[in-house]
Amino acid sequence: MPLTLLSVGEKATIARVTGDSNLRLFLTGLGFSLGRGIEIIQETFGDNLIVKIGDTRLALDRRMAMHIHIEMLREENYVQ
């Protein structure tokens, strides 16, 4: 499911990144890579998101969040 469905405080892992190859490479470089844990820190005005991946905080808008697909995971499987 797309990242937009996750709510604040929930954790998941990244299952898939979509978009053209340049965009996907760029997102991967930013830290959106398969299998990594992701957590929503904050929803801002207009449903934009601040997420936490590892120790990085990333801000992304709804359209970008649609490119990130996640899998809900139980707490013990969460990979930093």
Partner: protein, 726 residues
């Protein structure tokens, strides 16, 4: 991959041995602080030839070497998604002897992703493990020695903001350069059998092209990039390679094969393996106490980026910024004005009356001094902007505004260039570089001059003060608001007509909030503000001299009356109004002299076009000279309207003269015209560089002139119709 960065050639023959090093690393990894710590004050800002990304270079001497340090743009990887990435990659491929890869210790996994690509490129690199203190503070423990062994690169712990580890870093650079670094070895990141087989096949095809035989480019790296579908490399290969058909055919076959095998896209598979490599590495060298908690920075974000409070807080902070800029700026402004007055009196004292004194006092000191008075405002504005930038708030501001900017047809990251523009459009236009999408950038650059820079303020203050008295503040505010509204309106028109399609979605790293060092805020303020100073030093100085020249020449004018005779006659009278009469005749003579000067002729030439806007030829000449820099509009008025010959309260005299020569309605139209018409030369230069197109720069000139004319026409003619013309 075509533009070779304009870096000075390696000077082998010189007595001192030269090493060129490139600094690369993620944004927010502390590249700038390391650069400053390494090079101190010996640096200058330039541009890569042909591209629009800024480069900073500095020189440091160490152990008998002259080391040239080039600060590359901050990048997350070496793909081709942003201009920064392409520039950094080109540079690393072609120029440096050694690369310093700055890695944020608090963010090791993500930062090492770039490192894996340096390994693949075969770059000779040393890792600066930066922000070591912050990492320790956060409970992160890194085995530096082992990390170096596993990466095949020396690793030096550093704290750039405190200048720690710089000597060790340079020692390692020299050791690598002299091939004496024990750790250095070239390693391959293994992508697993399936991928490796396909890489082999592609590599074999590439090697058939003899131009790659010189080892200048790693064929393995090229193969990886081709499998990843890197546009720039594909373009390069199809443009230059003698074996392009076979290479591209093989790449396609390999991609199809791998995607079939893994049922995933090639670049995802490759990226996955890179992260796998990093993960394995980190297991050996990295441990972390108190993982996963919300940090203080997160808690601050809960408030500052709050869904409801975020925007009001941002607006409040901006309001404070502008208030402080203008109230605090007023004091040093008065000092500068007095100093300029003293200096010009000094020169009046030492230079005998004549043409040279006119040049120095009226031309140079009058012109440049008038502009210098705005330096405090501009510096203060940049001080605030640098403070917001260094604390990490500016990145959030862009994000908070994203939704609103998006509804306006712009991008969240367009917000920062707009805010900068209130200080000066030049750094504003340069700040558009953070926008990844080309059409977003084009629109943001084209509308940027509509945001009223501080150089236009003096004119508003003068005219609004003279004609609108108590309402002056409101009038000025309305001018600013009109600029913003027009920027939005024009932006939307451009989005709907010239640059169709959606802008890029928003994604950006948010650095943790930090209390910046005063020193670094001041350095950043200075970097932005010095652009303004360069303008004062160059363009404005030249323009002041030219304006003085065209208004003071030709010297021998045929007057309509014999003024000296009239003056002599007046002096013969025993009238009590003799002084007033003399004054009036002097002004008349001066006006006639000006009307017949080159400036006057130019103003008269364009007068028919601007007459419907309520401007006369004097307004025309002020506008022409204002193209050089908008501050000059006021100083031109100063030169044009100079009433007495030895005026002490120049500004009071100017206000009087303006009052006599203009009507409130035409003054209002004049302010709006100045707001909108042609950006100044500095801004045009920046636009040309950033747009990379003469056509679009000329388009900016054309659209802004027409828009200015239309708006001023509506104000003046509309106002006259409504009966405000008196």
């Amino acid at each position: 991959m075509s533009n070779k960065p304009a870096v000075i050639e390696k000077n082998v023959a010189s007595a001192k041995k030269t090493i060129i090093i490139g600094l690369c690393g993620n944004p927010n990894a502390g590249k700038t602080s390391i650069f400053n710590a390494l090079t101190g004050s010996h640096q200058h800002v330039g541009n890569y030839a042909g591209v629009t990304v800024e480069s900073k270079e500095g020189i440091v001497n160490h152990k008998g070497y002259e080391i040239k340090v080039v600060d590359l743009p901050g990048t997350y990887s070496l793909t081709a998604y942003t201009i920064e990435e392409i520039v950094a990659r080109d540079f690393i491929l072609r120029e440096p002897d050694v690369v310093i890869n700055i890695v944020d210790s608090t963010n090791l996994d993500r930062n090492l992703y770039l490192t894996t690509q340096l390994i693949e490129l075969g770059a000779k690199a040393v890792i600066a493990l930066n922000m070591k203190d912050e990492a320790e503070h956060k409970g992160i423990i890194i085995d530096t020695k082992k990390l170096g062994e596993l990466l095949g690169m020396p690793v030096v712990p550093t704290v750039g903001t405190k200048g720690l580890g710089m000597k060790e870093l340079l020692d390692e650079v020299i050791a690598i350069f002299e091939n004496k670094a024990p750790l250095v070895r070239h390693l391959h990141i293994s992508y697993g059998n399936e991928v490796e087989e396909e890489l082999q096949k592609v590599q074999t095809e590439i090697r058939k092209d003899s131009s790659f035989a010189d080892g200048r480019l790693s064929t393995r790296w090229l193969s990886v990039k081709l499998l990843e579908g890197d546009n720039e490399i594909i373009k390069e290969i199809s443009a230059t390679s003698t074996n392009k058909e076979n290479i591209l055919k093989q790449v396609e076959a390999s991609q199809t094969h791998l995607e079939g095998h893994f049922s995933d896209d090639c670049e995802i598979i490759i990226a996955d393996r890179r992260y796998g490599f990093i993960k394995g590495l980190l297991q050996e060298v990295y441990s972390h106490r108190n993982n996963g908690k919300l940090t203080i920075s997160d808690k601050v974000d809960k408030v500052l980026t709050n869904r409801v409070l975020g925007i009001p807080i941002l607006l409040g902070l901006l309001w404070l910024m502008f208030q402080a800029t203008y109230t605090l700026g007023a004091y040093p402004q008065n000092w500068i004005n007095s100093a300029v007055g003293l200096i010009s009196n000094f020169f009046i004292g030492i230079i005998p009356s004549g043409i040279f004194r006119e040049l120095v006092v009226d031309g140079i000191i009058g012109g440049v001094g008038g502009v210098l008075a705005f330096l405090p405002n501009i510096m203060l504005l940049f001080l605030f902007i640098s403070f917001f930038e260094d604390t990490g708030y500016l990145a959030r501001a862009a994000f908070i505004m994203d939704r609103i900017m998006h509804t306006l047809g712009l991008h969240g990251k367009s917000f920062i260039p707009m805010i900068m523009a209130f200080g000066c459009n030049v750094p504003g236009i340069m700040a558009t570089r953070t926008l990844e999408n080309k059409t977003d950038r084009m629109i943001t650059i084209l509308i940027n001059p509509l945001i009223s820079c501080s150089a236009r303020l003096p004119l508003y203050v003068l005219l609004a003060g003279v004609f609108f008295g108590k309402n002056a503040g409101n009038v000025i505010f309305a001018v600013y608001l009109t600029g913003i509204a027009l920027a939005i309106f024009i932006g939307q028109i451009f989005r709907k007509t010239l640059f169709k399609g959606e802008g890029a979605p928003f994604v950006m790293e948010l650095p943790p909030y930090r209390m910046p060092l005063l020193k670094s805020v001041i350095i950043h303020m200075w970097e932005k503000g010095s652009i303004f100073l360069q303008k004062v030093g160059g363009i404005i100085l030249a323009a002041s001299i030219i304006i003085w020249f065209i208004s003071a020449f030709p010297r021998n004018i045929e007057y309509s009356k014999d003024y000296s005779k009239i003056i002599a006659t007046i002096k013969m009278q025993h009238d009590s109004h003799i002084a007033a009469q003399l004054d009036a005749i002097a002004v008349e003579q001066k006006n006639e002299k000006l009307a017949k000067s080159y400036a006057g002729r130019m103003g008269k030439f364009i007068e028919p076009v601007i007459r419907p806007l309520g401007f006369d030829w004097k307004g025309g000449i002020a506008l022409i000279t204002g193209v050089a820099a908008k501050e000059i509009v006021v100083s031109t008025f100063g030169v044009l309207y100079q009433t007495g010959t030895q005026e002490d309260e120049k500004s009071a005299g100017l206000r009087e003269a303006v009052k006599k020569n203009m009507k409130p309605l035409s003054a209002l139209a004049f302010m709006f015209f100045t707001l909108i018409y042609i950006p100044c030369l500095g801004a045009l230069g920046a636009m040309y560089r950033e747009l990379g197109s003469l056509k679009w720069t000329l388009f900016a000139v054309g659209y802004s002139l027409s828009l200015a004319w239309v708006v001023a026409f509506i104000i003046f003619q509309g106002g006259t119709l409504l009966g405000f013309g008196a």
